[in-house]
């Protein structure tokens, strides 16, 4: 648990952003679910990939549940829209759409490739740090990263 808690936490946070208040609870649920079904883990995939699979299902369940129980609208019948401040709505929506597309593409990628991209770009881990984590040389990590980006590019144009 100690080894993989940060990765799972980081993954869930990236999927729930900007609503981060449930990240702790979901991370805990992932480990409890994994603990309960540990007998079913056959070791075909690395443990972190198996845990990430459970995390992905938990996040999907979370959003399904949220959509089933929409938050009530504020009780304000003035009919006036609040004054705009900060970035324009269009820009926020564009950014959100782009982020969603990136997440969709990464969700469809092999676990190893998606994890490498997550570590490299979101967690800003250097090739050396990644190489120490997975017991490969820095050069091998660079090659794996290039392959992951290639995989991303292929899926991006299909998405």
């Amino acid at each position: 648990m100690e080894l993989h808690a940060d990765t799972i936490y980081s993954y869930i946070a990236s999927r729930l952003v900007p609503r981060l208040d449930n990240v702790d609870d979901l991370t805990q649920e992932v480990f409890l679910a994994a603990w309960k079904s540990l007998a079913g883990y056959r070791g075909d995939a690395p443990l972190h990939a198996w845990l990430l699979g459970i995390a992905r299902h938990k996040v999907e369940d979370y959003y399904r549940e949220k959509l089933r129980q929409p938050e009530p609208l504020p009780d304000d019948d003035s009919g006036e829209l609040p004054e705009e401040s900060g970035p324009k709505l269009d820009e926020i929506l564009d950014q959100a759409r782009l982020g969603e597309k990136i997440r969709c593409v990464m969700d469809g990628m092999p676990h190893e490739d998606a994890l490498l991209l997550l570590w490299r770009y979101w967690e800003k881990r250097s090739a050396r740090e990644v190489s120490e984590q997975i017991n490969r040389t820095e050069k091998a990590v660079e090659r794996l990263l290039a392959r992951a980006r290639e995989e991303f590019r292929g899926r991006w144009s299909d998405a």
Binding site: Y9, Q28, L32, I102, K124
Partner: protein, 110 residues
């Protein structure tokens, strides 16, 4: 899409998101406690004597429970439930727990 654009796209997307921290030591402690409880609910835990024999270090408190002349059933209970170190670990970030063998020590980032 060229390789450079993929790199830039990923860098931009990552920097557009707020910085995410690693799991807190409190969360790790809570998860560990929850897993212990889950295990406890499915049946008696491995006794402290068996845990010791299996090579796992026991903390001072567990060691005390192991050697006192009480029934085996009591030694299969989870002593962490009544330990202040667990409470500290779950409530305080980087809690000052230094007992050798205490599982909660490992979750504190120092």
């Amino acid at each position: 899409m060229p390789e450079v654009t993929v790199e830039r796209l990923l860098q931009n997307a990552a920097s557009a998101e707020p910085a995410r921290e690693a799991a807190s030591s409190r969360l790790k402690s809570r998860i560990f406690s929850a897993m212990q409880l889950e295990q406890q609910e499915s049946g008696p835990l491995l006794s402290l004597a068996a845990t010791h024999a299996a090579g796992r270090k026991l903390c001072v408190f567990e060691e005390l429970v192991r050697i006192v002349p009480i029934g085996e059933a009591a030694k299969q209970k989870n002593p962490c439930r009544i330990c202040h170190a667990r409470v500290l670990g779950e409530l305080v970030e980087n809690a000052p727990i230094y007992w050798p063998g205490c599982p909660y020590v490992g979750f504190q980032d120092r």
